[in-house]
Point group: D2
Chain length 282, copies 4
């Protein structure tokens, strides 16, 4: 049995010693430990993986952890069972490249998740869902039906017990209601090197500015557009000889890879969020 423990708390002496001692008392063996101190804000972060030869009650472990450690150090913490496959919903619009990328990784077991459904405001990608035999829900969004659509989305997410949502070029602004229910659990891919080129048509803006490098950014969605905690970024070189169409084509490859890396990090519980920034464990 394997547990992954994520902690953040005010920085103070003795945290590592206390946590590793606790794990030892529960007959666990620490197989990975990484920690980080944000000195600006005085916050300590830790990710720890431990293996247990005997079966341990997750409930009892959590209770003991809370009472013996968390209260003393004022910890915010999560403890995950290694074997659990999170349930990931995918929201798309009309572009299929990120969707194909995620599904082919899912199909080849690169990505250890279950995908209860794909949701879109258009029917264009229903055929991809069918290719991979995943339920597809068409939830159109117009100015008038926005609230109704949100209710429908929330209902589907709840019914399928979705753990986190991936916006694979969804192209719609997600409602605060959804964000409240899935804080730091909605992953978006933005097709620029944020914070450059926030908002619509970033490739056009990059072309206009004559940049020599374009990028893509995956981040957790917050209520402020394209301003959530950044999980992963990557870039590629462009030149004067590339048209906007070339930017978009090159960008597709960035979007695929940056989104899939962010999803992998999230699934592996390697991300923590604090102060609108992420700590990404190795």
């Amino acid at each position: 049995m394997k547990l992954t423990i994520l902690i953040h708390c005010p920085d103070q002496s003795g945290i590592i010693r206390s946590v590793t001692t606790f794990v030892h008392q529960q007959e666990g063996n620490v197989v990975y430990l990484d920690q980080h101190v944000d000195k600006q804000v005085g916050v300590f972060f830790m990710r720890l993986e431990s293996e247990f030869e005997k079966k341990v009650s997750l409930e009892a472990f959590k209770k003991g952890f809370e009472q013996e450690l968390a209260q003393q150090f004022q910890m915010e913490w999560d403890i995950y069972l290694g074997a659990y496959r999170p349930k990931m919903a995918i929201f798309v619009s009309k572009y299929n490249h990120c969707l194909y990328d995620l599904l082919s990784r899912y199909n080849s077991e690169e990505l250890s998740v279950d995908i209860p459904f794909i949701l879109s405001n258009h029917r264009d990608l229903e055929y991809v869902a069918e290719q991979f035999q995943i339920p597809f829900y068409h939830v159109p969004v117009t100015k008038d039906t926005r609230e109704e659509a949100e209710e429908k989305q929330l209902e589907l997410l709840k019914k399928h017990e979705v753990d986190f949502i991936v916006l694979a070029r969804y192209m719609q602004i997600v409602s605060p209601k959804l964000i409240d229910v899935y804080p730091q659990k909605i992953i978006n891919i933005h097709h620029s090197f944020l914070p450059a080129f926030v908002g619509a048509k970033p490739y056009h803006a990059a072309f206009e500015r004559g940049v020599k490098i374009i990028g893509a950014t995956s981040h957790y969605v917050t209520s402020e557009l394209d301003a959530g905690p950044i999980i992963e970024q990557d870039v590629t070189a462009v030149s004067h000889s590339h048209s906007i169409k070339d930017f978009i084509a090159k960008g597709r490859d960035l979007e695929r890879i940056v989104l899939s890396r962010a999803v992998q990090l999230h699934v592996a519980r390697k991300t923590m969020v604090y102060n609108n920034k992420t700590v990404i464990f190795s």
Copy 2:
């Protein structure tokens, strides 16, 4: 004898044929040709290198070029003699890393320029100028002496027949008067991945935003701050574990390399500017 010809003009049929025919008539051999068409604005760009076995009069060549080609095709053009070493002035403030980088390249003949002087608003780097035996001028800039300082700068530039200026972390805003005299001939290094983090303290802003990649940008200076035509950009990965101090240290390496690449491109006559963007020939 070698000539480098740079042209831009409205895109139209027959330009390449006409120019290569003209070079042939002058008994030149085309050893390099690269061209680009900006389809958005309908402008044709070309860079051509040609070798001449016999000595050719540059003046006569230019006159013929203007009369037989440039007028017909409405060309803007420059023709450079291959052997000419341009005169490069370096402006610095207190940081020495870009200065050392440029001078060591100059010293080892990596950089084919003459350096008539180094100018600074501080005396901190005078010792570096002395190490490399290059004249150093201390021209302090305060609110009250700004105009006087500009006059002094212009006088020095004129006296030394400077061809172009490199701002190697000069940290001062260059006056429009200087920019007018050296249009597309002042190269700046900005320590961010423009257009992200324009202005002061970009590493602090990047740290605050929690980006996963930082960059540096070299560009021609125009009257709008950090908004001139981009010549070269590069980036490097950062993580939550890096402090602002780490950003600055990693950034120094980017600044060195990005500035030196831009200077090399400028010296090799491989840059053209149009519509506040650059065409960078290979």
Copy 3:
């Protein structure tokens, strides 16, 4: 109508002028020209795209080109009709990541080819062919059936008029007989930064050596294993913290992207081969 002309010939004066003049005489307009001279061997390379408002007979154009230009300059040349979609066969074995990548690009029209069939020595990926409704041929290869398998492969390639072959992690050595029929028309992806780690299990060898960067290489297949002309390479950083399994996972992303870029370059007629090296036009 659009034609793409690829030329290589002994370097000599007047080639560009003569070719552009010829195109002009045929009432074509040169919209792209890139050239390269390999000074070591004295060979000139050129890629030229020209547009014709009137319909031109490809046969007549080729005939004129041969008689008026090619013979004089001793050119080897190819002329392609812009609108032609080449026929690409895909050979796979058991790994699906490169196959999915190619098919999703094909499906979204990123890749302008026809795919007459997918061929494999195993049945494992037949389901992927079915997902994308592409014919699948199972041609097992054992020591005893190798020759028979090659005959079967050649027969299929001929029947479907295949223009080029992509080995998308085929894991079998391709026979010289096939290479003879498809010279510089079989694209392989090798999972290392060639020439490091030629042969089997390159990720294991890279791990063993403790490298800090791994790579992938796409190349044209020649009779010498992993030694053909390199089309495209890319790399990614690794560290001591990565296991061989991690190398393989990171490598999959490299393989996908490097293979797809090579295929795109080939399809766009941007590759030329000389002296076991490639010229890759921009």
Copy 4:
């Protein structure tokens, strides 16, 4: 006061807990901890930084560490005082780019070392040593004087109590005698992406092979040529349009940066060597 502790030992339960408890007992506060387990060989690695408000006797700390921890866990360990500036000798030949890079970093306090001397088999770079006012020793190496030269080198190293040696393009094979005295303390820069292109003239070999990416590698010197534990690697893109001269020019920038990063990692005690591979802590 700050101590940096580096440990490797057979992987077993309780190491982190025991070490952090020991530091705590000495009234130290752990401010950084990173660990790694090489599962192939069952070895545990750890780097730990701790701060002490009171002054601690380094000798007593080391003694206690050995007795209470090291013996029990069969640890190999080093403990360094944070404030110590190691003494770095630089060996060069005729190329100045790596030397200038190191010296300018040294001069601007980027690099926290003392440089007791620069040594060369030629007098070409004596002027650089003079520019930076660092003692320069000319120790010629010929077939006949090799042993004598080695004696001279060892004598100088001993006399100046040198901690580690940087071969900044030294171009000579270092004798096993020197390597024995400085195991994992001689840092070399090799101008290729090892293990590709071992030995002399790697840029020529890379050009010949037609690679699309070139690299540089810094490694600890062992008795086998270019086969020591790799500390750092980096690469840059090249194309058919680059000559060998271009490869060399681009390579210089790689060599500078890769060597300086390796030196920085070594100085910061962030490298450990095991099984001819490095663990590089973050």
